[in-house]
Amino acid sequence: MKNLSYILLIASLIFSTIQLVGAEEPALPDTLKEVTAEGEWADDDWGEAPWAEESTQQKSPWHGFIQGDFGQFLDSNNPTEKNQSLAEVRGRLENSWYFGDSYIRIKADLVADAVTENLHGSFREAFWNGSPTSSIDLRIGRQILTWGTGDLVFLNDLFPKDWQSFFAGRDMEYLKAPSDSIRLTWYNNRANIDLVWTPFFEPDIYITGERFSYYSPVENAIVAAPPELAVDQLGNDLNNDLGNGEAALRLYQNIGNYEWAIYGYRGFYKMPEGFNPSSGHTYFPRMNSLGASLRGPLSAGIINTEFAYHQSVDDKNGTDPWIPNSEWRFLLGYEQELMRHLTLGVQYYLETISDYQNLIESSPSPETEPSESRHTVTLRLTYLTMQEKLRWSLFSFYSPNDHDAYVIPSVNYRYSDHWSFETGANIFMGDQLHTFLGQLQKNDNLYMRATYRF
């Protein structure tokens, strides 16, 4: 019987070998030869990506970029001192050093800035990261921190943002400013816990009048530096002012393919929204926040929703006109690929002021107070062409009740693995001077950027 089956197999082989071979039949791939550098597969032909160089190897070389940014204001009536929103050359160096499972990472920038007329170096990241236990990650030092579900809308992400970079059109990574923080993450089956302690308050990089103009309620006009916005900074003496730090908490987990999260924050308004009428200075009032988010697939896209309650600690019933009232924030967003290479994202964002009546009754200038609810709709369109080397992007904020808007069109061209170029604009519109985006309306700018990466 065994012999019979062998005969069958041999017979079948003979049958199959004599069968005619189709004209389009491919050659069997080379299964015999060892991988050798040959033809276009040769190592030399792959440019600067030799196999030996891997991010995961023990020693990693220095990486970074050199970047030139130039931005021009479009409105000649802008009261800023300079006509340029950007004129700088930036160098970046980064590296990581591994010690078993832990590592140290450094990202350092050196900027020659013609708008502020100075040369300054700074660490964008400089931290140690390790895992004291198998379920805990610890990151200590200067780091970039992000959470929440909004697209350029932040409800529970109260980590510092650099609005000057964003409005000027610097590379998007500069929207997030670094924090000197300790981040502890505990992973477990019920809910992962993220705890971030920032011993010294890290405010946003806000509009001071130096690079961009803004609306001053005192002068009831759009103003710019000099003088810069007078801001009383928080005491940052660790011995005396330990309470001036920030603590942020996130609990998060997945249920099926939906991600939920609960957020808490204890700290301060990230922009100097308080006003001291006796000194004429602004300052950072205390603020606590609580919120939650949910994100997951819906139809062919991703839906996200998030809310937050920002409690104004020093003005809980909203009767102090110099301190912002507590506020509810709500977000609903959806993103989907409309057609090949074209993605659409839409968001509805609501901010509602608590105890609004108290604010209006106590305000010395009720007519320039913000409206009780600010509705904002955002739209993102991204279109990729030329093997994704050319990226067309449009992002816009529009508030139908405050009648103001902010539109950011941009085109990014990735010429090679090293060179990329971007140009775009930041256009602000508003019927009134005092609204959130309307106050920036003289800052319309056009920017361009060239980057060489290595």
Binding site: M1, S5, L8, L9, A11, S12, F15, S16, T17, Q19, V21, G22, E25, P26, L28, P29, T31, V35, E40, D45, W46, G47, E48, A49, W51, E53, E54, S55, T56, G64, F65, D101, D137, Q143, T146, W147, M172, E173, L175, Y187, N257, E259, R295, P297, A300, G301, I302, N304, E337, R340, H341, M386, Q387, K389, R414, D417, H418, T451, R453, F454
Partner: protein, 336 residues
């Protein structure tokens, strides 16, 4: 001889042989074992898959009290239809095996990959990344859900970017992208899987596989080396092709060439496996080329430092790994 005739013949042979059912079944098992060993000379999971799914075995078992003589009859019947006895005739089995060979080798796997993207003017771009892949074995079916974690290392603008995928064949995948510069975990709409993977001529679907249930499959030819399968989409509006034809290596079940035809009847896209190496018993396409025949552009894809069955835990495919890529698994294994 059609199937009914075969069965009648088989029953007659049973009566003639008069042997005990148990004993003969054991013999069939041993013959079929040898047959599958012949098909896959390397003792591997694929051999196991074939053993359990062998068409002859299933056919024979569907007939009560069958004997080896009956199997012989069936075998001759197959040969008389002008195909090899070892050939599969069920196209679903063929495409299933091809899917397993191309995307499901081992329970998990790691590979360093680089792509060279060449446009119609000969301008080149490079992408270099390490892929970790893990199959959900506990769902009881191979060819099912998988997890992918991709860490980019070159060029420098995407260095440190990670891509996490929970693949659900037949449904929408869950995909996340981590942008280290912003510390941003971005969820990506699964949407169209037939869009470029990181700017290359490869589509997402070419990297992680196309759901078998999305096409009608037809075995149009069995040559001495290949099963040639024509695939027609069940929902043509979802895809840019009218159909695609795959040449599947009969020995390894590796899809060696795939050609896509547009509605003008022209072949406009081709994927080729240009080098297949056997790694830990699994045939693996280590060099692939995707050609865009309309523009003349193409992408070369080469994989090295491949290993399978490393015992990856499920929890490394998580948000934790996006912020802290698990070096234990991404690290290139020491040379053996």
């Amino acid at each position: 001889m059609n199937k009914t005739q075969n069965e009648t013949f088989a029953r007659e042979m049973v009566l003639l042989s008069g042997k005990a059912k148990m004993r003969t079944e054991r013999k069939f098992t041993s013959v079929n074992d040898r047959l599958s060993t012949f098909l896959t000379p390397h003792g591997s999971k694929m051999a196991l898959v074939q053993r359990s799914q062998n068409i002859f075995q299933k056919f024979i078992r569907s007939i009560p009290g069958i004997t080896l003589a009956a199997w012989v009859a069936v075998g001759f019947a197959t040969i008389s239809t002008n195909a090899s006895a070892a050939d599969l005739t069920d196209v679903n089995k063929i495409v299933n095996k091809a899917n397993l060979a191309a995307f499901y080798s081992g329970a998990d796997g790691r590979a360093e990959t680089r792509m060279q993207i060449v446009d119609s003017q000969g301008r080149k771009q490079t992408r270099q990344f390490t892929i970790l892949r893990r199959d959900y074995i506990n769902d009881g079916k191979d060819g099912g859900d998988q997890q992918y974690l991709v860490l980019f290392s070159y060029p420098s603008d995407i260095r440190g970017t990670l891509f996490l995928v929970e693949k659900h064949p037949g449904g929408d995948d869950d995909r996340w992208l981590y942008l280290p510069g912003l510390d941003l975990v971005k969820r990506i709409a699964s949407g169209d899987k037939r869009t470029s993977f990181v700017g290359s001529d490869f589509f997402y679907e070419d990297v992680s596989g196309r759901g078998l249930s999305e096409d009608h499959h037809k075995l149009i030819e069995t040559t001495d080396k290949f099963y040639v399968v024509l695939n027609t989409p069940k929902n043509p509006s979802n895809v840019e092709f009218v159909n695609y034809q795959v040449w599947i290596d009969k020995k390894t079940f590796m899809p060696v060439k795939t050609e896509y035809t547009d509605n003008a009847g022209k072949i406009y896209r081709r994927i080729e496996a240009l080098q297949v190496k056997t790694i830990q018993g699994f045939p693996t396409a280590t060099r692939m080329k995707v050609s865009n025949l309309r523009t003349g552009g193409y992408t070369l894809n080469e994989m090295r430092f491949i290993s399978y069955d490393l015992g990856m835990p499920a929890d490394i495919f998580s948000e934790r790994s996006l912020r802290n890529p698990p070096r234990q698994w991404f690290k290139r294994p020491a040379a053996k």
